[in-house]
């Protein structure tokens, strides 16, 4: 991450929920380049996303976390379907192919409300998984080390 660049995730959210060429995003980028803080950028981003509910939009775009090739041929007819029907129409937008965004949101809310302890279990599982991964990796390395020939040892050490 380059410190002088605006927060990439914030830009991704803006490009998803606001049109790519929205001057608002350009204004935020320009102000950030003029010395505004990352906190300022995030605050403006959340405000813009909140205000976007009231503003007309052209459609939902896929979340772009990495820079792809630049715009080559601006297509007047967007490949994504035009949607209408207010903010709720955008909730089912999927952050991952094949997984509904609304389903993920509902699952998170439901789990937090019904069994908040689940997050402790999730955290412990992550730690245990990381520990198990480290042990298995170390074991594999040691096994490989045992079978190294003197030539391999000489090259690697």
């Amino acid at each position: 991450m380059i410190p002088n660049d605006p927060p990439r995730l914030a830009l991704s959210l803006l490009s998803r929920w606001l049109p790519d060429d929205d001057p608002l995003t350009g204004d935020l980028v320009e102000e950030f380049a003029a010395g505004r803080s990352r906190l300022w950028f995030w605050r403006q981003t959340f405000s813009a996303l909140g205000a976007a509910w009231e503003r007309p939009r052209v459609g939902v775009r896929p979340l772009k976390l990495v820079d792809g090739p630049g715009r080559v041929d601006p297509d007047p007819t967007p490949p994504w379907p035009e949607r209408s029907g207010g903010p709720l129409a955008y909730l089912p937008a999927s952050p991952v192919n094949g997984v509904g965004g609304l389903g993920i949101l509902a699952a998170i809310v439901l789990l937090t409300v019904v069994v908040p302890q689940i997050w402790l279990l999730v955290g412990l599982s992550l730690v245990a998984g990381a520990g198990l991964g480290a042990v298995l990796t170390a074991r594999t390395v040691l096994r490989m080390h045992r079978h190294w020939t003197p030539d391999i040892r000489r090259v690697l050490t």
Partner: protein, 110 residues
Amino acid sequence: MPRATHLNDFELMLLLATLRVDEAYGVQIAREVEQTTGRRVLMGAAYTALDRLEARGLVSSRLGEPTAERGGRAKRYFTVTPSGLEAVRQTRQALETLWTGVAQLQEKRT
């Protein structure tokens, strides 16, 4: 008597800031409001209000050329329309009418 156009305080500030700067676009309008009033401006709120003013015919906007310093994004320039000017005048007149004759305010002035 034509029906008066009512502006809220933020809309009035945006229109006045747009009138005060040349080639007014989002950043300049927000800076002008912040510097002259001390009010912190959220760009999203400013654009929402400007969209509303444009829908009411009080401002018009046009897109400029994309620039590198903005990540290839264009500026949106705003201009106050004659209807917008009239709305500002009407609002000022209404505020001045409300102002006059208020004893408490006159005491503070002297």
